[in-house]
């Protein structure tokens, strides 16, 4: 069991919403990962759909690069769709 791969688990709580990451677990293969995820992460009616992905298939950004990757977006408010003034008639769009 030391060589069981790690899987990241994503659960969709209701139809129509997106799958959210809820945690990870070890399993021998993908089918067992689904069963384990069902047993561990849907005990309290948390979801209607399970995705499991082997952790080594996920590429993540390097925290050291956070400044370079994310800071420039902080002062570019013109990219947000907040400058349109809606006419009163459309206030409930």
């Amino acid at each position: 069991m030391k060589d069981w791969p790690l899987y990241e688990v994503f659960i969709r709580s209701k139809n129509g919403l997106n799958h959210k990451h809820v945690g990870s677990l070890h399993a021998a293969d993908p089918q067992m990962a689904i069963q384990n995820a069902r047993d561990v992460y849907t005990r309290r009616n948390e979801g209607v759909s399970i995705w499991v992905v082997e952790a080594n298939h996920i590429t993540s950004s390097n925290p050291d690069d956070a400044e370079a990757l994310y800071d420039p977006a902080m002062d570019k408010i013109y990219r947000h769709p907040t400058f349109y003034e809606l006419p009163d008639a459309l206030k409930h769009m």
Partner: protein
């Protein structure tokens, strides 16, 4: 009998709590235990209504000879493979028996079956997958499973040997023809054994007695643990 099967097996599975080979399996087994203890509670509650007793009187205050569970559910947990093989045999009977019970003439039993069959369907798929993986795994796991099949198969037949009360309830349309249940259960059982590359032992002597209240010595120990609290502190509640 239906309640006792689930209750005693639930108690055995509870013994694994904290001892599973890996966290996810520990949780899986205790989930299964909760499912079947829940099913047992439904039957005990129904009985309590009919006989004017309390639901807990049945699991907690009866003695060994009053229990009607089959011998299989008393067998020791053994190693993970033994537990999976025992679970798989139970599930083969449980799933197809419940399927037939959904059409029972007794509405209450039919509705209990309709709810429990969803859980049993998962249990059957869970235990089948494990039997296949362990049987068709490493030489060591295959050997352990081979031992498991050999020492547990004598207990499988008892599910399908109708006790007097089962003959009676079948005539009333309350419970199914056990031959039909056996055919489906055996078909599933041999399919999975084949896929697990496990041989089906021949000339197996069928052990029985549980349904008449004649149990193995294991039941005494199981009941001692299960009933200790109620017997030491009668009438105690949370």
């Amino acid at each position: 009998m239906l309640a006792d099967n689930s209750m005693i097996l639930g108690q055995r599975l509870g013994e694994w709590c904290g001892h599973g080979p890996i966290l996810e399996q520990d949780i899986a087994l205790t989930n299964i235990a909760l499912d079947i203890i829940g099913e047992a509670r439904n039957y005990y509650a129904y009985l309590a209504e009919i006989e004017g007793k309390k639901e807990d009187d049945y699991p907690m205050l009866r003695k060994e000879r009053a229990f009607r569970n089959v011998l299989l559910v008393e067998t020791p947990n053994g190693n993970w493979g033994d537990t999976m093989m025992r679970q798989f045999m139970f599930d083969c009977w449980h799933y197809f028996h419940l399927e037939a019970m959904t059409k029972s003439n007794d509405e209450r039993l039919a509705s209990i079956a309709k709810k429990s069959i969803k859980e049993a369907s998962y249990h059957l798929s869970f235990s089948s997958e494990w039997v296949i993986r362990l049987g068709n795994g490493t030489p060591e796991s295959h050997e352990k499973m081979r031992n498991a099949v050999e020492h547990l198969l004598p207990y499988f037949e008892e599910f399908f040997m109708a006790a007097d009360f089962e003959v009676y309830s079948q005539q009333k349309g309350i419970s199914p023809d056990l031959h039909m249940v056996k055919n489906k259960a055996m078909a599933k059982f041999s399919d999975v054994l084949d896929e697990a590359t496990l041989a089906y032992p021949q000339n197996v002597f069928a052990k029985k007695g549980g349904k008449s209240g004649i149990h193995s010595e294991h039941l005494g120990f199981i009941l001692t643990e299960m009933q200790y609290l109620q017997r030491a502190y009668p009438g105690v509640t949370w």
